[in-house]
């Protein structure tokens, strides 16, 4: 009896969480002019309009470019930082580690305003570079957390064995360490991409005039009217931000199964 109640409650919670999302996806296929029930027919019309909307396409290109660059920079920095923190004795390693993780703990608005004020103080104008910089700052902790966890589990003697066999430290990294932590590196990169792709708070503060990412574009469109196009856009976003990590996880699992690690 008690369990039944708890089970029922859990179902209600999930409904509350996912029903709105389901509604957006459902309505994106609505043929009607208005984005609301009842649905008048099934159609891809809004996706087609989406594909012909220059502003949205531009926003998409910006978001994907920004996401990819964020992912590459964050992953590179994250891997290097993790290597330093895990493999070498760095003075104040704990403090550095906490500092690098801190952006997760600080509310994003605070971080966004702080960075903006700081750059104002330095007399630097908003730019795409600044936007990228901001995204790197708050995706870096995720990469570091994931990569560090993996690196700790890679035994040092495997690297020592490689060096004893004649591989230089750099060759050892590319031959042994990197392949062994590849699943974590890919996961970190995907995290960085999806977080950057999703972000609106920081982006609103940092983006220069005229540059829109997909989330800020949706936000701007919502201020005028609720067009069914937004539902279609929402569906595309869901596919990208849910589908990509799932795909990444599947690839990572295949890699680690093959290596048996």
């Amino acid at each position: 009896m008690g369990w039944q109640l708890i089970r029922g409650w859990a179902v209600l919670v999930y409904l509350f969480m996912f029903l709105p999302v389901a509604v957006v996806v459902l309505l994106s296929f609505n043929a009607s002019e208005f984005g609301s029930f009842p649905m008048s027919g099934f159609s891809f019309r809004w996706f087609v309009e989406l594909a012909q909307n220059d502003a949205i396409l531009r926003a998409f290109r910006t978001s994907i470019g920004l996401g990819l660059m964020t992912a590459v920079i964050s992953t590179t920095l994250g891997v290097l930082a993790s290597l330093a923190l895990v493999r070498y004795r760095v003075p104040g390693a704990n403090a550095i580690s906490t500092l690098l993780i801190a952006p997760i703990l600080v509310p994003e608005v605070v971080l966004a305003v702080a960075l903006l004020l700081f750059l104002n103080f330095l007399g630097i104008n908003k730019s795409f570079g600044l936007l990228l910089f901001g995204h790197v700052i708050f995706t870096l902790p995720f990469v570091i957390l994931v990569v560090q966890a993996r690196l700790v589990s890679i035994r040092r003697d495997v690297e020592e064995a490689a060096m004893s066999l004649g591989a230089s430290p750099i060759q050892t990294f590319f031959q042994v360490t990197l392949p062994l932590m590849l699943p974590a590196v890919l996961a970190g990169g995907l995290f960085a991409f999806t977080i950057s792709f999703d972000d609106i708070t920081g982006t609103l503060f940092w983006k220069p005039g005229g540059v829109e990412t997909v989330p800020t574009q949706i936000f701007a469109m919502l201020r005028n009217s609720i067009s069914p196009e937004i539902n279609a856009l929402g569906t595309v976003m869901i596919v990208m931000t849910v589908g990509l990590p799932l795909l990444g996880a599947a690839i990572a699992r295949r890699i680690s199964r093959k290596s048996g690690a």
Binding site: V158, E160, S164, L165, G166, V176, P179, G260, A261
Partner: protein, 358 residues
Amino acid sequence: MSSVTLKNIVKRFGNFTAVHQANLEIPEGAFVTLLGPSGCGKTTNLRMIAGLLDPTEGEILIGGKRVNDIPIHKRNLGIVFQNYALFPHKTVAENVAFGLKYRDVPKSEIAGRVQAALELVQLPQVGDRYPKALSGGQQQRIALARAIVIEPDVLLLDEPLSALDANLREDMRVELKRIQDKIGVTTVFVTHDQSEALAMSDKIVVMSAGRIEQVGTPEEVYNTPASEFVANFLGASNIIEARSATGEAGGVTFDTPAFGRVTVPAARAAGVAGGPAKLVLRAEKLTLLEPGSDTAGLIAAPAQVETVDYQGQTVRYFIRLGDRQLQAINLIDERPFPQGATVTAAFRAKDCAALPGT
């Protein structure tokens, strides 16, 4: 193949001195074991030879050449680690071939040499498998194949048998020695297991608390330990307090409170001057007899059996002799003496080794 020399090696970690003034000469082709309890500095020495640690002071020579400033990947060593340290993302054949890639070995030769190495460790069939699919003993053989396929100047073995279970360990011990004999590579073996050291080594280096206590053949360190530590670490020994009385032709006579006068052969009393001394008597050299047995030519004293530790083939007794406790490990003839029995503890004087006392 090369000799290895340690000259006045000191290694400090902060305030802690892990190795004090180590001097060691490992001849070409020898199988030398660094033996000692954990924390005695044996692994630190091995890692310095390997180039995984830098000595704080002193010089390391391999093949007569100073290698202090040569990084590990240019030293041409084969290292076998306690936990195998195979590359989990590479197949067995790729693991073994790894070192050859950095040695200008023509591609056409690599496969043949890998196969030869796998045959040497008696695992010719597993080249395509991943390490995870092999048992612990097999993985350690692959690790050995990977280390010797590069024809290293020195083979370094860091407790390679410790992760294996008991039966397998003995098989691998024989196997390892066979392979080392066959390729004749200079080998430095680190272990805390005295039976491994005694069984495999040409020479044993006994270490304690960062110092080298004794260097000698297995027989030398077992029969004539240079210190109380060595006597106790290798097997069970009794330490009998004594006072050197007279040196005479062929022997040194000691006065012991427990057994009276004992004359030890001069060769086994080297380094003992006058004054206090200690006699080392192996537990298996102390025999318990029925009271009243013939003890002609033996040193004997009455004793009480306190504890009986039955081990099947042998029995280990703890006996009391006045206020001293001694150990005796004897083969069982008919049945062991019961606890509380009065016995005669006897030994031959020539089985004692004398150490300077403190």
